[in-house]
């Protein structure tokens, strides 16, 4: 992590509706290894936020510990961020969301952070249908501690030292589907054209949105024999569902309709267009999504895109009947019952 700022010159850059350039959505300089997949995800986040015209202060970034978690410092420097303890980001996000549901919560995690030490919190945030975009930057390896297998490493995948992994992997998408997540996507850090619309759609989804991004570790897991290398991912990666997101219906949306895309209107009016590559795949069918992922896994295929969508589930705010005014802004006068009520209440204790 660094505090090094980048020189800020954006005169020549296009501005969004808020008059901001992409530079306004950047953070401090990344200290990750050159070529790290995570930096591509960071760049995609910057682009997605800029394109969505989101006010930087409307976002809150949450993360745990690990290479992926560090990246919350590298985008949206004008947004609050909290980089907490290893594997516990979902709980911090839960409390923050309860206090103010009006913000856009972006959680950045890794396969170690989410699938080992934080597996429980990952699962329970999904169960609560916490309204957040949860990006899992998945490289199958512990980078900061120099190359141990993570719980996402495939069975038989080789470490840099040549040892084969002898444990079964945890697939975060399958897990999320079984736990009832309403938005489950897989992407590849090397394909920005797919990742950016998914980020936008995930941000606009009201509820828990998971994007598992295969994001190769160039230093510890990019060798022959690894199933999380760039070469392997490029070879076996096939978009199953192409996703496009349009924030506001305009002239372009008609073209999608002609294209035969599945059209989904998001909670705030944004339009999501899904184009399937296989006729018999239905991204509304949870059981089929799970089956497809399990089959793909055994075939060594990496299927990507928005694999499952259900926008009808009440999120944590709705389930808890939280007020329209964020809890952290409810005036004290509405929170205290006052002296008279206390006197009255005590008759039951006499």
């Amino acid at each position: 992590m660094t505090s090094m700022s980048k020189p800020f010159i954006d005169k020549h850059l296009p501005k969004n509706k808020l008059g901001l350039s992409v530079r306004n959505y950047e953070g401090v300089m990344s200290t990750l290894c050159a070529g790290c997949g995570h930096d591509s995800v960071t760049a995609a986040l910057v682009q997605a936020f800029w394109e969505l015209d989101l006010a930087p202060e409307s976002a809150a970034k949450v993360s745990g510990i690990g290479c992926s978690s560090k990246t919350t410092a590298y985008f949206m420097g004008q947004s609050h961020g909290i980089n907490c303890v290893h594997g516990r980001m979902p709980s911090v996000a839960t409390g923050a969301n309860a206090a103010n549901g009006d913000l856009n919560y972006i959680g950045i995690s890794g396969d170690g952070d989410s699938l080992s030490i934080g597996f429980g919190q990952f699962a329970h945030a999904i169960r609560r249908n916490l309204n957040m975009l949860y990006i899992l930057e998945n490289n199958g390896v512990y980078g900061l501690t120099k190359g141990q297998f993570s719980a996402a490493a495939d069975y038989g995948s080789k470490s840099k030292k040549g040892l084969a992994n002898d444990q079964m992997p945890i697939d975060p998408c399958v897990q999320a589907l079984t736990l009832g997540a309403g938005f489950v996507a897989r992407a590849f850090s090397g394909d920005k054209s797919q990742l950016i619309p998914l980020i936008k759609a995930g941000l606009k989804h009201k509820g828990f949105a998971l994007i598992d991004v295969i994001s190769p570790c160039v230093t510890f897991n990019d060798h022959a024999g690894s199933t999380k290398s760039y070469a392997h991912t490029y070879k076996y990666y096939h978009p199953l569902v192409h996703t496009d997101f349009v924030a506001h219906a305009d002239e372009t949306t008609g073209a999608y309709d002609k294209d035969g895309a599945m059209r989904v209107t998001m909670a705030d009016g944004g339009e999501l267009f899904l184009r399937k590559t296989a006729d018999d795949y239905d991204p509304r069918d949870r059981a089929q999504a799970i089956e497809t992922l399990l089959m793909n896994k055994s075939e060594g295929e990496i299927r990507t895109g928005l694999l499952y969508l259900n926008s009808d589930l009440p999120d944590m705010q709705a389930a808890n009947k939280l007020p329209k005014i964020p809890l952290n802004q409810v005036p004290y006068e509405r929170l205290t019952p006052g002296k008279a009520a206390l006197a009255k209440l005590q008759s039951r204790y006499r």
Binding site: A73, Q78, V85, V92, T94, A98, P323, V330
Partner: protein, 611 residues
């Protein structure tokens, strides 16, 4: 023909203990509560202690009701009248009756062996037979047997049946059939003893006027009420004895006071976490985002939360942790009381960490200090530990009625508004602008210029990551200063002087208070002069140092094995170690004065000194 009860003993009025032995899961709690409440309504000060097992059904449980005309708030350690309703514990109960005392048992199945003690009078009342003849349903019979012993106790001690009747009416409201059934059961016990015993026991309950302006409430409920009045909006928790009723209370009060009648919207959020780690993480997330947030737990929960506590300390996030302490290392005795998390909480988490602790001694202080805890947490932007215990939290205590000042406004601490941020040239999260070691913070969503990055990794005063030795130390040193300054914000100690020239004194904490005050009276009667200071906050106020300085010796009275309060005094005051003498009790029962009197007396005797 009437049995004769030996009434030759000295008559004791409003100064004895009724102890009821029962089987848990039989619904005896409401009968025992009824008994205690009736005594309270007669104007007699009472102390109620529930001794229950870590079990749902079938194990022995006891409920102690001490009538204390002098208003003592601790257990007496005696048992003048035992109502033995559990055959499994008959022997133990008989052995425990104080000399000259009484044992009431269910003589449906006569037990001559219970008449074995010459100094104890056993009273047989065939409760099961009476109840079985009057009620059909099996579950009803079990419940009504409890009510029948209430009637028997009333008949034997002079407890006013009209008071009981009113309470039963309040308990069941419009459910007339339940009122009738319960009063019928009470009548069974009452009539039987009136018919079979020539006069009441020498243990008499007579009306007094010492409970006016008081209520009976448990500390967890009072603390929950404090959370509501403090304006807490977010609570996260994982169920753990003995803290569970705190969140139950908060939920009930919020459902009553915080739900918009028109929209059904709730001005509060309670999340049951997947574990304690998540619960404190949620509270920290909410605190970071500007909601007053808390988590109730007990010692094992604090152990689990420790990593996050260090994060909130170093990241400077306000959060309140209610530690309702229970006994022991590991799982220990989940339904027994101790003050055994003092050192754990004071220094919770790895690395250099020091926390702010508040120590309530009764439900009244639970209510008041809950409010203070939130003010202090937000003022100092740090975790605050509210250190209560099972005895305070789960037992009903007689306290003066709670009062509230409607002019109270929460101290939300140093939080910049959007306008204030706008007017700043640059915002730095950990900048000590005011020289008070507390930096201004901003809330997410307020203003893009106010954005900062909260991290548990090394950071400098600007909030940026650093591994620079000097920059790192600047922040750590400010945290020390901030913590020290909190000594003047926590509740001041309460000092009780004996009015004579005392060379020795007692320092104690929390749930020991009642026992200490009673012990002081006994010492005074014997010419032993002791002053007393009760610690109510950590870091220690300067008064604590000054107090210790005034005496040759200070007895540190607490309920744990290792003398944790003493350790903290040795560590955090200038007091010489040899001056502080531990007086300890760690059996897990609510404190009674005995261990204090015996401990201090033994110490003085060994010295050949009588203070």
């Amino acid at each position: 023909m009437k049995d004769l009860v030996d009434v030759s003993g000295e008559v004791r009025v409003n100064d004895f203990v009724i102890k009821i032995g029962n089987v848990n899961g039989t619904g005896s709690a409401s009968a025992n509560g009824l008994l205690m409440k009736a005594i309270f309504r007669m104007g007699v000060p009472v102390v109620g202690k529930n001794l229950f097992p870590s079990n749902i059904q079938g194990l022995p449980t006891w409920y102690e009701i001490r009538l204390t005309k002098d208003g003592y708030m601790a257990r007496s350690g005696t048992a003048e009248f035992i109502v033995a309703m559990n055959a499994e514990t008959y022997k133990q109960d008989l052995a425990e009756v104080s000399p000259g005392g009484f044992l009431l048992y269910d003589s449906t199945w006569p037990r001559p062996d219970l008449h074995a003690r010459a100094d104890v009078t056993a009273i047989g009342v065939p409760l099961a037979r009476l109840v079985n003849a009057a009620f059909d349903n099996a579950r009803t019979r079990v419940l009504m047997k409890n009510m029948a012993y209430v009637g028997a106790v009333a008949g034997l001690t002079g407890l006013d049946v009209e008071v009981i009747r009113n309470l039963v009416k309040e308990m069941f409201g419009t459910k007339e059939h339940l009122i009738d059934a319960n009063m019928k059961a009470i009548g069974l016990g009452l009539d039987y003893v009136r018919e079979h015993f020539s006069e009441p026991l020498p243990l008499r309950i007579e009306p007094m006027d010492k409970t006016a302006g008081h209520i009976m409430i448990d500390g967890n409920t009072a603390a929950a009420l404090g959370c509501v009045y403090a304006g807490a909006t977010f609570g996260a928790w994982y169920p753990i004895t003995p803290s569970t009723s705190l969140m139950d209370g908060f939920k009930a009060f919020c459902e009553k006071f915080r739900v918009d009648p028109d929209t059904g919207e709730k001005n509060f959020c309670i999340i049951q976490g997947e574990d304690e780690l998540a619960s404190v993480g949620m509270a920290i997330g909410a605190g970071w985002n500007g909601a007053r947030a808390f988590t109730p737990t007990s010692g094992p929960g604090i152990s689990l939360m420790s990593e996050f506590i260090g994060f909130a300390y170093y990241g400077e996030v306000p959060v309140v942790l209610f530690d309702v302490q229970r006994a022991g290392p590991s799982t220990g005795l989940p339904t027994r009381t101790q003050q055994c998390d003092i050192t754990l909480a004071a220094y919770a988490s790895h690395g250099d960490t020091k926390h702010i602790l508040l120590f309530p001694a009764n439900p009244k202080e639970c209510f008041e200090m809950a409010v203070q805890s939130f003010d202090i947490a937000e003022r100092f932007q740090t975790p605050v530990f509210f250190m209560t215990d099972l005895d305070i939290g789960m037992n009903d205590w007689m306290i003066p009625e709670l009062d509230w000042d409607d002019s109270y406004q929460p101290d939300r601490g140093k939080v910049l508004t959007a306008d204030q941020i706008e007017s700043l040239e640059k915002f730095y999260r950990y900048e000590d602008r005011d020289g008070d070691a507390i930096a201004w913070r901003t809330l997410p969503g307020t203003h893009p210029k106010g954005a900062y990055f909260t991290r548990g990794s090394g950071h400098n005063w600007k909030g940026g990551y650093t591994e620079d030795a000097e920059e790192y130390k600047v922040v750590l040193d400010r945290l020390t200063t901030k913590w020290k300054n909190a000594a003047n914000a926590v509740p001041a100690p309460v000092i009780t002087r004996c009015g004579k020239d005392a060379r020795r004194a007692i320092i104690s904490v929390g749930g020991c208070d009642g026992a200490v005050l009673e012990a002081l009276d006994r010492f005074a009667e014997n010419g032993v002069n002791l002053d007393y200071l009760r610690v109510r906050g950590f870091p220690f106020n300067a008064e604590v140092d000054q107090f210790i300085d005034q005496y040759d010796e200070v007895f540190v009275v607490e309920q744990n094995r290792d003398g944790q309060l003493r350790s903290l005094l040795v560590n955090e005051t200038e007091a010489p170690k040899h001056k502080l003498v531990s007086i300890l009790d760690y059996a897990g029962m609510a404190a009674n004065p005995k261990f204090i009197i015996e401990g201090i007396s033994a110490h003085l005797e060994a010295l050949g000194d009588v203070a």
